[in-house]
Symmetry: C2
Subunit: 655 residues, 2 copies
């Protein structure tokens, strides 16, 4: 049989291919990735390629349309317009090699590989390789002579067409629907396969949509992302308060609730599962899908949230020697957890590092990848009710956790709220007039450019802003106390509140949608001080253990709304000094990591590796913790120097 | 380091062993299987061995007690009595090699390998190698320095002590109990591992009991066996009517019920699952256990019963081309099927051959092993509502199925009943007086040796007896008709029944516990004729396809009670002629196969192999089926010769 020279552009891959093979077959032989959702069944039209004619001289081949088999009715009209025909388009699954040919694979026909997850300013690049993939097959109908069972017929077809393992398993609840699904599709079906191991879903005919759900279960906030597993795109993002908040504000109080109440664990477990079910239902509804369409779920959480969500007794995590019931990553059937997505879907949880440093920090690490940094020593802080801190690079990585409390997420703050429409998300205070300008989520313009802002409260990023601004303008002093006496006369915004303690009025009642002055109180300032002191001390100890007194960069992550302002964070002393331009806020990196683990199996492997290699340090048990904590309560710190923001500190009015 | 000669008896295995190794370690090195449930943790006392002193000359070694390390307190009293010490007993896990030694391993200390499953006269020999095994481990308690998770600690210990795979999985519902189970057992636990793959149960401390359930789900009868997976012993046997009987008497009428009723499938599925749950509960109760103790289940059934039990639509099995939804063997979590045993237990189903020839025939084949027969050509008949027939040997094996109907199991028979106390199980009729002698289950003596027999009805084995006896004594003729006119005057036992049709009185009302005459009616005879003709035709066609007109042996299996009488079976013409002494009744071979698959993983592999290799023949579609069926209705057959029982046939009185 004759062979011909086939070259694929833009990759430039080339080789000799037997006459009569389709371009799709040729592309596979030569290692070129052409999208073909239907697997070459002439159904999906995704494998469009363009024939480059007349490249004889450059490539030493005589490429022309006539070197391919003639046009077929399946190509014309439906998939390739008349205009495209003129431009040399063909379907790779139909056109057969009959001579030397040069093929251009357009962007949209290239098998997706590298994808960018969009976050704030930059993106995270990853391989799109999700744990679940859909495969379309056309089965040979059963006959009296062919006694193959339905399942065996499907498994064999998947093996032959897609080279999946011959002993592919099948989820029982998928199997028991199989005979009807196959016949409803007239022997053409789309099978969803999990990890090249198990058929978890079979649909009649060709189905392309394939979605998964990534969730970051924080102590206070639950952030969820519905993702397209074919493109890597985030289709819907949503969040809610963790419904367990009513049982305790932080991880230790949740453990206590469980130990004090016989049904405490059951209540908290059910609360988060119901929360997940609510999110799955309302998120799929937004894009006209149902929870049944969700075929894979990834979950990240701190160790205590993990134990409660998985209904594993967390009390041993909370007491010395702080032992987790399980540290490995897990794949659990959604139905066994009571999570109402596709009943055959799996829930993948990332691994625990140690103590309270759980899958959520692993998630931050696989998103931020400090272990890929060769020289720079990075400080990565994930700000949550339970804060997690990492220091290091590819040579060594250490981690710890600290009890931050929920203040930075808006809880325990008088007017604190989730980052949702109506939340003040950004604030500046004029150092002379002490008047604020602020921005509310859902409004384009800032106050006072608009008078009615409909503000309802303050979300995390603004809480950090306002504390920094109060300090920079001398409204509060280094120790966090309001300079009430000096300022009461100067501005009505600084006043005694109903409880007799000082407060600052951010928004007057008439600007808001709640008919009340939105204020930040002395109590709020104290709550933030406790939180930032915990983070500061954690970072300080960790850097000491690591053997550095200054890091090269700081990454701030957290699920508290929009990106926090690095200057505000450093000015209030949330972490030891660092060049300001080397401080970066990256939003909810734990959520990004959950998405990455949903979209790329390689990231799951990376997660297990980093969870094993990162070195855990217990900092809260250090003998001088109390003393250090007290010093770190001050803005930015009682004794430490902050050369990077000295120019800002110098400008603070003395009162 | 010195080495010494160690010899184990009775196996005779020997070798040099390093000084200081325990006898248990030595036995493992030399490939001797000593029972040690606790894995050498000095807890179970199972590894008793006897030191044979003074065998210097015979074995050229100087064996004496002094060649072992001294007695330890753990050995004395609790496990080894004073008398045993004198006899030279030691625990192999404690005694260390300090010189040449000859060790006798008593029967009870030998690791169980070959076990006999008792059936009727003979036994089935198999390897005791169940899919679930219990392992005892003593874990190192967690410390602040050791951050290992509970699950990882357990998996590592199982790997180190028992060489189980390092990546052993764990069932989610087992994992979520783990932290408390480990601490309740003070870090000593017994883990049940399924197929060397997954931890499915963890119990505090050392637990030895390990039971499984094998069930043969027939169309009419469900037979269940609760087995000890440590010894292979059958602890409890039980049976019930298949609760689906109310929805249809045979497989086709069940399929019809499903197709005619929207909730038909749900009802039938739930009925059998509830039936299994009832059996599991009452069988475990008999030995003071609970269903939670059942850690593995094997199920066999015909293809339609399989589909209904697994909630897979059976309608495509019932219509051409008779395609099964799944043919492979399956492992399904019991909880997913709603079967209330241990929630982490697996249910193993044997594979389907083809059409209606399902896992139950595979089960008969792995029990009877005709594929291990090199020369003899065997005919194996499994008599049930759906009959399955196999012909062949190691060279070739063929199978078919036939619609026998439930008559031979006692259904459709006026006084038919399950083999239970009160059922007549054996009958002879005197050719002169036409008086019966019969035996009732639960009574030692036969009627008329006892007058009050408390008979309630007739079970399968007696139904076959009585038809054969009625024919042999000329009460019914070759065509199955009662010789009413000739005999009415001769004996009151032959009479017209309430329906005006002839019947034979087996037991007078006063003998019974139901206060009614127990009779066999003309209708009963017809039902048996239909059943035996179906079996005969199936065998006849199969032998034709196979290319033999006589088989070397016949094996009769079925779940209809006690072993059927071969002479009765052949006299009524249940199968083509065969030497009478080569006909063997083996009871419920399908049930035995289910037990074997429960107790020996090797049998599961054998099942997959034979299901693949046996050749399925569809006989009911043959064009001359009706004609052949009519001829086979006669006793023993309208035209075929039966030289093996000619002497019996010759004695039948002409009436």
């Amino acid at each position: 049989m004759s062979t011909y020279q086939v070259i694929f552009q833009p990759s430039g891959r080339r080789g000799r291919v037997e006459e009569g093979k389709t371009l799709l077959e040729a592309s596979r032989e030569l290692g070129v990735d052409i999208e073909a959702v239907c697997g070459g069944a002439k159904k999906c039209g995704k494998c469009k390629v363009k024939i480059e004619e007349g490249f004889f001289e450059k490539f030493n081949i005589d490429s022309k349309m006539g070197n391919l088999s003639p046009f077929q009715p399946e190509e014309e009209g439906k998939f390739i317009t008349e205009e495209m025909i003129g431009d040399g388009y063909r379907l790779a699954c139909i056109a057969k090699v009959q001579g030397d040919i040069l093929v251009f694979v357009p962007e949209e026909s290239r098998g997706a590989t590298q994808v960018v997850l969009e976050i704030g300013k930059e993106g995270r690049v990853f391989n799109l390789d999700p744990a679940v993939t859909k495969y379309y097959v056309e089965l040979k109908p059963a006959t009296l002579e062919d006694h193959t069972g339905d399942y065996e017929r499907l498994a064999e077809a998947l093996h032959k067409k897609y080279n999946l393992p011959p002993n592919l398993g099948i989820d029982y609840f998928c199997l028991n629907q199989l005979p009807n699904v196959i016949r409803d599709g007239n022997w053409n079906v789309t099978a969803t396969v999990w990890n090249d191991k198990e058929i978890i879903h079979v649909e009649s005919g060709l189905v392309e949509k394939c979605v998964g759900l990534a969730v970051d279960i924080g102590t206070t906030t639950v952030a969820a992302y519905l993702c397209d597993l074919k493109t890597g795109e985030t289709l819907v993002r949503d969040s809610m308060m963790n419904p367990q908040v009513r049982y305790g504000e932080d991880v230790l109080s949740r453990i206590t609730y469980h130990m004090m109440n016989d049904d405490g664990m059951e209540k908290m477990h059910n609360a988060i599962i119901e929360g997940l079910n609510t999110l799955a239902a309302r998120m799929t509804k937004k894009i006209d899908m149902t929870p049944n369409d969700i075929l894979e779920v990834t979950l990240v959480f701190n160790t205590v949230m993990q134990h409660i969500a998985l209904n594993i007794d967390p009390k041993f995590v909370g007491r010395s020697p702080f032992t987790a019931g399980v540290k490995s990553s897990l794949d659990i059937k959604a139905r066994d957890l009571g999570i109402k997505v596709n009943r055959c879907a799996n829930v993948h949880t990332l691994p625990v590092e140690a103590g309270f440093v759980g899958p959520d920090n692993v998630s931050v690490l696989i998103a931020e990848e400090p272990y890929k940094q060769d020289k720079e020593i990075r400080l990565v802080i994930d700000i949550g009710t339970n804060g997690e801190i990492d220091v290091g690079n590819s040579k060594k990585l250490m981690c710890t956790s600290c009890a931050t409390g929920p203040a930075l997420e808006g809880a325990q703050i008088k007017f604190g709220m989730r980052a949702a429409p109506g939340a003040i998300e950004r604030i500046l205070i004029d150092p002379e007039s002490l008047e604020p300008t602020y921005k509310v989520i859902g409004k384009e313009e800032w106050y006072p450019d608009i008078e009615k802002t409909d503000a309802k409260g303050i979300c995390g990023s603004a809480i950090i802003d306002i504390i920094a601004e109060l300090f920079k303008t001398g409204i509060i002093n280094k120790s966090g106390r309001f300079n009430l006496k000096q300022l009461e006369a100067k501005t009505p915004r600084v006043r005694k509140g109903e409880d007799g303690r000082p407060e600052y009025v951010l928004a007057w009642a008439k600007e808001t949608s709640i008919g009340k002055d939105v204020t930040i109180t002395q109590g709020d300032v104290r709550a933030v001080q406790l939180a930032k002191a915990a983070l500061y001390c954690g970072a300080e100890y960790l850097m000491e253990k690591y053997g550095v007194n200054k890091v090269d960069s700081v990454t701030l992550a957290g699920a508290f709304g929009s990106y926090i302002d690095r200057e505000s964070a450093l000015t209030m002393g949330m972490f030891p000094d660092c060049e300001l331009e080397k401080v970066q806020a990256v939003g909810n990196a734990a959520g990004d990591g959950a998405k990455l683990a949903l979209l790329d199996r390689g990231k799951r492997k990376e997660a297990m590796e980093v969870a094993h290699s990162v070195e855990f340090v217990e900092t809260a048990v250090e003998p001088d913790f109390q003393d250090r904590f007290a010093l770190a309560m001050a803005f930015p710190h009682a004794t430490h120097k902050f050369p990077s923001i000295q120019h800002i500190l110098d400008k603070i009015p003395k009162r």
